[in-house]
């Protein structure tokens, strides 16, 4: 079964190729058959691989499949090789299973769209490249998938490209992530020149042999890789693209900008943990970035009105939690949260997409209300799915408490984040689904929408209880500190405080948004803070404005300056020179044959003369 691993990225790729080549001539039914069918096959294959991997583990719990050598330049010969261990198993399960459900949902959600085949082609391509990313055994192949999913993200954010703002959002996402990707590329070059390999396992070995802990090279390499991860996973300071990325269709937001692609940064850090372990400074930076991101994004989420932007900020915040866990070297906790969050956020995005359709493409949550009675399936799946991540977050918080770099203070800040999380999530839920009915609803989600929602919500709740990575032989707290293992009960207890805080948050949200008297007027978002602060939070801490002032404006000014002045003069002189010369020389172009023959003769005379003299 494991030998079919290579089929896994191939299946969606074949779907993509067929849909690209024949998409225009296929009926919608066959588009679904190909687009969703390829994903269904991939999902089944993944389950088969997972069962085989767990029941009859390969030696060392690692399965490698070398397909071919990509190219060979000197000593550098990156292969097209797949590497399956517990970590990548977790990732491919998320990608194919959640991906399949989202494809299924899209079959109904996108039914009225003209570019049906194009949508599924992009989605299939994305899944294929994402699988290459997580299965790659060397960083170059990983980078191929990394850039590929970035491209798919660009294509899908700008899927409705006829609206200029959607294209702009796509460009923004592409350009902002490019900053991180460039850093990562430089990191790869550094690793090639310094260690001479890009094979991930080999890298870990060679790096720990060659570089002492905390050495400059290790810090530089880890920091550059972190740059890539920060860009891809929308962490501070490169988080600004994700809220705008909501311009894409909801299934895209669910698949790419919540469940899979944005977690690539988390995966990268977990995968190259050996490098990061050599650079404790960078690990601390990871932790602080995660902490700051989850706090700022969480507070911003409380102040959004657009239902999808709330979820976007929420995603940034949850990714911040994963970085938080990675920063204290608790990869298991991060992956645990990644898997639960994938189920949870996919559910919420998909349900949000359904809500938006149901209320006639209204995005403002204050123009919705009381939808719980009309759309009970959406309400309950969102409710249950929303409970899942609190349980995976408690693991992260417990790890933070016990880690060397963490401690109770950071734990407290994290705890505050949990509180904020429950407030913004249930603010959305209560505002949209409770209270008096404000909208006409003529639309009911069909089976293709309901079934994925129910399965994903179930997945989220089950994940909260059983902790998926544990099932896959990837212990949630395996990389944690000894102190935690010394007192598992204390560990659990400290974690469970987070659940309590979350419940408190829900209660506060209920009081604020369901019971509050100003709230029904749509005026008060969160009471007792000044208008100025509210604007600050709602605009995402003015990061966009700051970047605009810091980069866009100077760049534009420079280009305007350069366009009109100085350097142009130099080029103008060149142009004038060429034009003058051209005018002189074209006089000789008389069109008269004898003149040309004479020219040849004179040339011969001169050449011979030069030889003789």
């Amino acid at each position: 079964m494991l030998n079919y691993l290579a089929l896994l990225p191939t299946l969606p790729l074949v779907g993509f190729l067929i849909l690209t080549a024949f998409g225009k001539s296929l009926s919608k039914r066959s588009v679904v058959a190909i687009g969703v069918g390829s994903m269904a096959l991939a999902a089944m294959l993944t389950i088969g691989i997972a069962i085989h991997f767990l029941s009859a583990p390969p030696p060392g719990h690692v399965f490698e499949q070398h397909l071919w050598t990509w190219f060979q330049v000197g000593d550098l010969a990156p292969g097209f090789s797949l590497y399956l261990d517990a970590l990548s198993l977790a990732m491919i399960l998320v990608i194919t299973l959640v991906g399949f459900l989202i494809h299924l949902y899209s079959a109904e959600f996108m039914r009225d769209d003209d570019a049906y085949a194009r949508f599924f082609a992009y989605m299939n391509l994305f899944v294929s490249l994402m699988l290459i990313l997580v299965l790659a055994d060397n960083l170059l192949l990983l980078y191929l998938g990394w850039e590929g999913v970035g491209m798919c993200s660009f294509l899908l954010i700008g899927f409705w490209y006829k609206k200029p703002e959607n294209s702009k959002a796509a460009q923004k996402a592409f350009i902002v992530t490019r900053v991180g990707d460039t850093a990562m590329a430089i990191g790869l070059f550094l690793l090639i020149t310094q260690l001479g390999t890009l094979d991930i396992q080999e890298l870990g070995v060679r790096a720990s042999e060659k570089w002492p802990v905390g050495s400059g090279m290790a810090v530089a390499a880890a920091a550059l890789l972190l740059g890539g991860a920060v860009g891809k996973s929308a962490q501070l300071p490169l988080q600004t693209w994700l809220p705008d990325a909501m311009a894409g269709p909801s299934p895209v937001s669910a698949l790419i900008h919540a469940a899979t692609m944005v977690t690539a940064g988390v995966y990268l850090i977990a995968r190259t943990h050996a490098l990061f372990a050599l650079a404790p400074v960078v690990l601390t930076a990871v932790m602080l970035i995660g902490l700051l991101t989850q706090l700022t994004a969480g507070i911003s989420a409380v102040h959004q009105r657009d239902i999808k932007r709330i979820l976007a900020y929420s995603t940034i915040s949850q990714l911040g939690y994963m970085f938080f866990a990675l920063g204290v070297s608790s990869n298991g906790a991060a992956i645990n949260h990644l898997m639960t969050h994938a189920c949870f956020k996919a559910t919420w995005f998909l349900a949000a997409g359904a809500v938006i359709i149901a209320v006639n493409h209204e995005h403002d949550i204050f123009k919705m209300g009381g939808l719980g009675k009309k759309l009970p399936v959406l309400f309950w799946t969102m409710f249950f799915a929303g409970c899942g991540p609190f349980f995976s977050k408690d693991g992260i918080l417990a790890e933070v408490w016990f880690s060397d770099t963490g401690g109770p203070f950071l734990w407290l800040l994290g705890l505050f984040g949990v509180f904020v999380t429950s407030i913004y999530l249930f603010r959305l839920l209560f505002t949209v689904f409770l209270g008096p009915l404000k909208n006409d609803v003529h639309w009911k989600p069909g089976l293709a929408i309901t079934i994925p929602l129910v399965i994903l919500a179930t997945g989220s709740v089950v994940g909260a209880i059983v902790e998926y990575p544990r099932l896959l032989g990837y212990h949630p707290y395996a990389t944690g500190t000894e102190a935690a293992h010394a007192s598992p009960y204390l560990h659990a207890a400290i974690g469970k405080i987070a659940v309590g805080v979350a419940l408190a948050g829900i209660y506060v949200a209920y009081r604020l948004f369901v019971r509050h008297k100003h709230y029904e007027a749509g005026e008060v978002v969160v009471p007792h803070i000044t208008l100025r602060m509210r604007r600050l939070f709602a605009a995402g801490w003015y990061f966009d404005r700051a970047y605009h002032a810091a980069f866009v404006v100077p760049f534009q000014a420079t280009s305007r300056f350069l366009r009109s002045e100085l350097i142009d003069r130099g080029y103008d002189a060149v142009v004038a020179l060429v034009q003058t010369g051209h005018r002189q020389i074209r006089r000789s172009q008389t069109g008269r044959l004898r003149w040309y023959a004479a020219g040849i003769a004179v040339g011969a005379v001169f050449c011979l003369g030069a030889v003789l003299l």
């Binding site: 004479a598 003769a601 004179v602 011969a604 005379v605 011979l608 003369g609 003789l612």
Partner: protein, 202 residues
């Protein structure tokens, strides 16, 4: 003997380029070619001498004659040619060609560009049996490079070039046929060659 032939060739050529009537010019040109053929004979190259007579003086000149016949150039053409050729037109080209000739003759006169026969024979590793040995330089005048040696050389060392020459001739044939074909055109105005006429029956 050599000088006589050379003078005949040069005078005939001079007359050929200065005639007003194209047919006269061709006749002088044939004389020039024939004298060059005689030169070839004297240089010990009987094969190319024959080729010169057959191909140049024969075939190629016949082509010219045909074309002149087709063009139907009569006495009025001589008059037109006289107008095209005023005496002062000879000055500039004459000077230019004189300079070129001077430059060509200069290295010949001081011998600096021609290796001696003896060293060249050492350099020649060819297996042609008619190469004279150093011991018998007086035999040089009899040394004739006949068709056999030329043929061996042509179809061994220069085989690829022969095939390329075949291609060239084929291309010339096709090109001449294509260009010379009379296309059905409604009017033959002076500017008509700029616009390819595409008014076919379709």
């Amino acid at each position: 003997m050599f000088w006589l032939t050379s003078i005949v060739a040069i005078v005939a050529t001079l007359l050929a380029i200065s005639r007003l009537n194209a047919t006269h010019a061709l006749l002088y040109l044939i004389v020039s070619f024939l004298s060059v053929a005689v030169l070839f004979l004297q240089l010990g190259a009987p094969f190319v001498a024959a080729i010169e007579v057959i191909v140049y003086a024969g075939a190629i000149m016949v082509l010219f004659v045909f074309v002149i016949m087709l063009l139907n150039l009569g006495p009025h053409a001589v008059e037109g040619e006289r107008q095209l050729l005023p005496p002062h037109a000879w000055i500039g080209p004459g000077l230019l060609a004189a300079v070129l000739l001077l430059e060509l003759l200069m290295p010949l006169s001081n011998n600096q560009f021609i290796p001696t026969t003896g060293t060249a024979k050492h350099a020649d590793h060819s297996t042609i049996p008619t190469i004279p040995t150093e011991a018998a330089p007086q035999l040089q005048e009899r040394m004739v490079v006949g068709p056999k040696e030329v043929g061996i050389k042509l179809f061994s060392t220069y085989l690829l070039a022969v095939e390329l020459a075949g291609f060239l001739l084929l291309a010339g044939l096709v090109g001449a046929f294509h260009i010379g074909r009379e296309e059905p055109r409604t009017s033959a105005k002076p500017g008509a060659m700029e616009v390819p006429s595409q008014e076919g029956p379709a």
